[in-house]
């Protein structure tokens, strides 16, 4: 349940960087940010900043390099003790 709420929040935040509504609707935990969700690499920093601002956290460069899928983002947020 907790994870579902976090997933919905992640989905909501990622949506602002995704043009195609169907990609947002079909988002899964293992969706690749670039290949499945069509988020260009130039926007990954925007994604990071969106999460930092939404949760008042700092995501390190090392963590950014591990952000390939939706699940990776969830794991980073959990490791930073983010609550929804």
């Amino acid at each position: 349940m907790k994870d579902e709420k976090l997933f919905e929040k992640v989905k909501e935040l990622l949506a602002s960087n995704i043009d195609d509504e169907s990609l947002i609707q079909n988002m899964e935990l293992d969706s690749s940010l670039t290949k499945d969700l069509d988020i260009n690499s130039a926007y990954i920093i925007d994604v990071v900043l969106d999460f930092e601002e939404a949760f008042g956290i700092e995501i390190s460069d090392d963590m950014v390099t591990k952000m390939e899928t939706v699940e990776d983002i969830m794991n980073i947020l959990k490791s930073l003790k983010v609550t929804v």
Partner: protein, 214 residues
């Protein structure tokens, strides 16, 4: 080796977001080098150079993309009478002679990388390699496409490059030329099922795809 990147000016960012973005990818010293560019160009320019460097290195080794690990130590304008803003959907070139551009030098540990960047009306395009003199021998091209989907961009850049590479290699039957990606998703070029030892780089962003080959 070679790396390239294309960045379009489609993303709208607030001033605060632009500042945070540049803090994330540029060191304090680099920010001084970029200080005369307006924010929109600054971010696109910085990103395209850093991503092109990443692609340059990533082909040869597993590498994490940490933009501040590569320092842009030189960035200067090279003027020409030729204006690159007259892009009409397709650009196919060798070198950068007679094109106004920005030349750059990047320091990474004990390595120096050199690059050239063109600023068009809708996008920024950068190519980097290990010797400044090689930059004018590079074959490169930019194509505008209808779709913005990753799979379409990926397909389009391969078709576009295949068309151009078949001319460079004087290949009569274009079907004998193929791109196959390795386990790291790095594309390699094959002629009659034999892998060719050549360096190239693909990039795409929104409606634009690009290749560079040396």
């Amino acid at each position: 080796m070679i790396g390239n990147d294309i960045v379009t000016f489609t993303k709208q960012r607030s001033k605060e977001r632009q500042r945070k973005y540049q803090d994330r990818i540029l060191t304090k010293e680099e920010q001084l080098l970029f200080k005369n560019f307006d924010n929109k160009v600054k971010i696109g320019l910085a990103w395209s150079i850093k991503e092109a460097i990443y692609k340059y290195f990533a082909r040869a080794q597993d590498l994490l993309f940490i933009p501040k690990n590569w320092n842009i130590v030189e960035l200067f304008s090279v003027s020409s009478t030729k204006n690159v803003n007259d892009f009409n959907g397709k650009f196919v070139k060798q070198g950068f002679e007679n094109l106004s551009h920005f030349a750059t030098r990047i320091q990474s540990s004990n390595r120096q990388i050199f690059g050239k960047t063109l600023i068009f009306e809708n996008f920024i395009y950068t190519v980097v390699t290990d010797e400044r003199s090689k930059l004018d021998k590079i074959y490169w091209g930019v194509l505008e496409i209808d779709s913005v989907l990753y799979r379409d961009q990926s397909k389009a850049v391969r078709c576009f490059a295949k068309e151009q590479f078949s001319n460079i290699f004087s290949v009569a039957n274009i079907q004998t030329l193929q791109f196959r990606s390795d386990e790291k998703s790095v594309p390699n070029l094959y002629l009659n099922n034999i892998q060719l030892n050549c360096f190239f780089s693909f990039s795409h962003h929104t409606h634009f795809v690009a290749y560079a080959w040396i």
